[in-house]
Amino acid sequence: MTLFEEITEHFSDPIFDRHSRLGDATVILSRDALPGVIRFLREEKRFDFLMDLTICDGGMEKSPRFEAVYHLFAFERKERLRLKVPVEEFDPHLPTLTGEYRNADWLEREAWDMFGVRFDGHPDLRRLLMYPGFEGHPLRKDYPKDRRQPRIGPGSTPATAFEREPALPERLGKALTAAGVADPGEEIMYLNMGPSHPAMHGVVRVMAALKGETITASDVEIGYMHRCFEKEAETHSYMGVIPYTDRLNYVSPLINNVGYVMAVEKLFGVTTPERCRYIRVILSEISRIVDHLTCIGAFAMELGAFTVFLYLMKARESLYELIGEVTGARLTTSYTRIGGLRGDLPPGFDGECRAAFRKIRKDISECDRLLTRNRIFYDRMRGVGVISAADAISFGFTGPCLRASGVSHDVRKSSPYLIYDRLDFEVPLGTEGDNYDRYLVRIAEMEQSMRIVEQALADLPDGPVNLDDRRMTLPPKEEVYNSIEGLMNHFKLIMDGHGIRPPAGEAYFPVEGGNGELGFYVVSDGSGIPARVRVRAPCFHMISALSYLIRGQMIADVVPIFGTLNMIAGELDR
């Protein structure tokens, strides 16, 4: 019996439809059926992960206007399922899932903030990314992209003013009650960290209520770096979105490039040439090493190990030089294209890459000798920020942070893309799920990434790097300059109002990003501009657990816990 048949057997009438396009099983159901179906799927069918929750706005003329999209993942069977719930414009509310999945808390708050869809029964439904006093819901199609509501300076109003923010005792009242502190009294000290704090690399704000040095309750505020990736994507061509994906996770931009481009390729139903897939793997893994080097370097520095930071930045610099030779940019690479790559690898890349790896291995072993058995480091990391496997899954952890809790989920293994199924590599696991394990997993992963690159370099095939498909890749320049067909084809792919047009439909494509499953959900309505691009950011889910992780810890422990979660503001706040 298929999964859908089982669902229809249990819940007869409110299921509207199902389809399975492009390999994604989708069930469309009514909002009344949602809680029951979700409970059934989670408990009976082991869909442990709520990977993502988002809303799609079809525009004012569509009825029902909104569509809530839930992405579920059954970790043991490696099965994915998408649930879609239509929501009417005049009555925008949905039942909450906070009782089933813990990361639903922030996901629902974000959906309320961005789209104005209420969630009945949500314990604390308030804005997440925008500030109090912000009027309207910016990701709705009828909110103009450039309608600004500043808090200071020209154009600010009393409603949006900075001074209107609630004070800390008021903000933490609810969290304190939840923590069992009925009467805060005088012995509670309120402490604000951030949004620009030396230990918070990036802009995030932690508001804590302290008893002595112990955190009894806290509230984490994000959204200080909200740059409207999704709104920008809805107003640019498919090609034009690629530079924006660089700046989502700016520590490993190449993986983001690959993820977005592969989601669009999935809409087209094409696969890229062999050589292109090898090069994408090589560059993704180099990016992963950069990501881990930066993460370890930054939190080591925040714990006082400045030497480690200098060593690892030295290692990162040699990789940046390598990436710069390939892509022309150190950081914002924009290297992939829909259907291929911007260009081939430069001559001599093989040798340079191996030389860089020799240097990096030396730097990592130096870092290892400085940190791994260092008494101070060990004491501050071991047993701090512990998260159990069950909690990590419920919070939607993926990547090194999940694997440190002992759960072997790696997108490269569970749903292999590109050429990962042909490569020989291991997935390092932790046992305790504390800071120290997260550190060790990252150190071990860098070695595995280097192994992958070396294997891919050894059997890198010859051939073209771009697909010969005129719907998405630009024609060769000699055709553009010498034939009218070539010129028209170029024009059609480049000009405003034309561009690359995937067939109408939707695709979710997950890749293994630097700190977890990075998924792009792209909806096409057949025009040259994406109807919706949603990014499933790995660190969003981890930062949603930060408040839970630091409860009961000392104030100084916030620094390593926050550091090992590897927050990247660009993708956290979108």
């Binding site: 500030y131 808090r151 200071i152 300076g153 949006t160 030396p198 770096m225 950081l331 503001a569």
Partner: protein, 157 residues
Amino acid sequence: MGIEQLIGRKALTTRLDAAVGWARKYSLFQYPFATACCSMEYMSVACAHYDIDRFGAGLPRWSPRQADLLMVVGTVSHKLAPILRQVYDQMCNPKWVFSFGVCATSGGFYNNYATVQGIDTILPVDIYVAGCPPRPEAVLDGLIKLQEKIRNEKQQY
């Protein structure tokens, strides 16, 4: 009789403004207000490879009270703008502002409801460095330009 004979070789004469300017230009204590992608390049500039220390600006201060150079590194959103202004207000005089990258300078390619279209709408800026993100060499060039400006300024004491 020249002044050299009067004071021998034990002193150096100069204008006080020039002396103070020279001292200030080589003792910049920066407050890195790092938000986004540019902070990756900021890290590169601050580390051994590009070594901002050669220019006398190697000591980041994590408190506005101890800093005299506010480096705004990355995108500033409307949610963050009042905090940036507060940090600037808390810094002691004399102080300078360094706009690092196009997002801080003009909003970059984020022309939307959340992003401040240039930090000069909320505070005065001394130097703008272009690039998304700027290469470390560009940052160092901007720093040298700022040092020139500091040296030639009418100093406040």
